[in-house]
């Protein structure tokens, strides 16, 4: 298995998500900014769940099975 394939990297970043959000980095980085915003209540409530994307929040929950 190639450890640097995209899919494997995704798995590693998910495993390290908490560490990633807590890391300190001086240089601005869009991904880090996103991760830090994601952990804040204000972001979760005001921006992500109710983001102005004309899409219903949490639509993927409560799905029924055929």
């Amino acid at each position: 298995m190639n450890p640097t394939t995209f899919g494997n990297l995704v798995n590693k970043f998910r495993a390290a998500a908490t560490t990633f959000q807590a890391q300190q980095q001086e240089a601005p980085n869009y991904a880090v900014t996103f991760a830090k915003k994601h952990t804040s209540d204000s972001f979760n409530n005001a921006e992500w769940d109710k983001a102005q994307w004309n899409e219903p929040p949490n639509w993927k929950h409560n799905q029924t099975t055929l």
Partner: protein, 393 residues
Amino acid sequence: MSRATSKIGPIGQVVIQSTSLCNLNCSYCYLTVSERQSNHQFPIENVPTVFGNLMKSDYALNRLNILFHAGEPLAAGIDYYRRFLAELDTLKIQLGKPDFEFEFCIQTNATLITQEWCDFVQEKNIRIGVSCDGPAIIHDATRKNWAGAGTLNAVLKGMSLLKKNTIPFSVLSVVSPLTLNYAKEFIGFFVENNIRSIGILPLDQLGIQKDNPLGDENLKRKYTEFLKILLAEIEKNKLDLKIRECDIVLEAILHQDNHYWDNTPLALITIDHQGNFSTFSPDMLTNSIPDYEDGNLVLGNLLEENIDDVIHKPKFKRMWAEIQGGIEKCRQSCDYFQVCGGGLPSVKINQHNTFDVAETTDCVYRIKLVADVMMEKLLDTPVGAAILAEGQA
């Protein structure tokens, strides 16, 4: 049947064509000129039948997001929406569902926004999305009025009114090959106009042709470079500006598999002014597919039949089986499946005349190139460096 592809509903969003009329003549519009010049309105008297149908569905939740789209919704006038929303309030009582929640959204070109519209939007708590392609050199090249003139100034007046009334809105921008030449001007435009969140939609012509479905490599490189410039500008100037496509991919990388509603039957239902409906991707209602079934992807009419009966129709069964087959191909063949969930059915059938395929150019531009740029950002961090070092050990 696989886990991620075996679900139907719930009904999350209805995209409804309140009117086919549009005051603009954008060159890439998927509606015909004839449709956009005709004021075909969804009749208010049909609201109880169509929405009662949806609210009583076994796949309904106790809430529904209604997006007015496909034509310029504001062209129908404020009174139209007052009556539309009043009918829905009455319907809730009639159906014994007083707690049923509607959330309303309007996707508008913003050129018809007035103070009266702003008052109405605030009164009814309607969410607004504005279609704007950026600075004049880009926007006015394609988003013209019927006289052939650019429309950016009118859009800016509309956005200015929204801001004056502190009405939040997002912007959806179609990105064409022309846009790729003006990355700094593009991002600068949104900063200058204090826009905080933008969605970027790669235009079909971004290399997407049936005889060359994966586009050319030069265009892919330009798109990647375009994304990198946008992010670099955001980072350099510490801008509070979100790019939807980047955030969706980051969310999927860091937290959970993505799964677009386009791959879930009835999650999104699109209805035209006559009550005809389709599901999966919104544009499947208007797609013409000459070699497929009866030449289109319409699944019925909500004035005449129960929404729940659609799943028993042979046409739906064929579409759903093919879509599931396509998702499975994606799962087995694509390293980006976790951040995508199986591609968009409407693009698959447009490019391949079947849903039962994996990669399309949409996958490349909307997912893969964005994901590569985001992964580069993630790896350019201490955690990313540790992950890379671990992989090389």
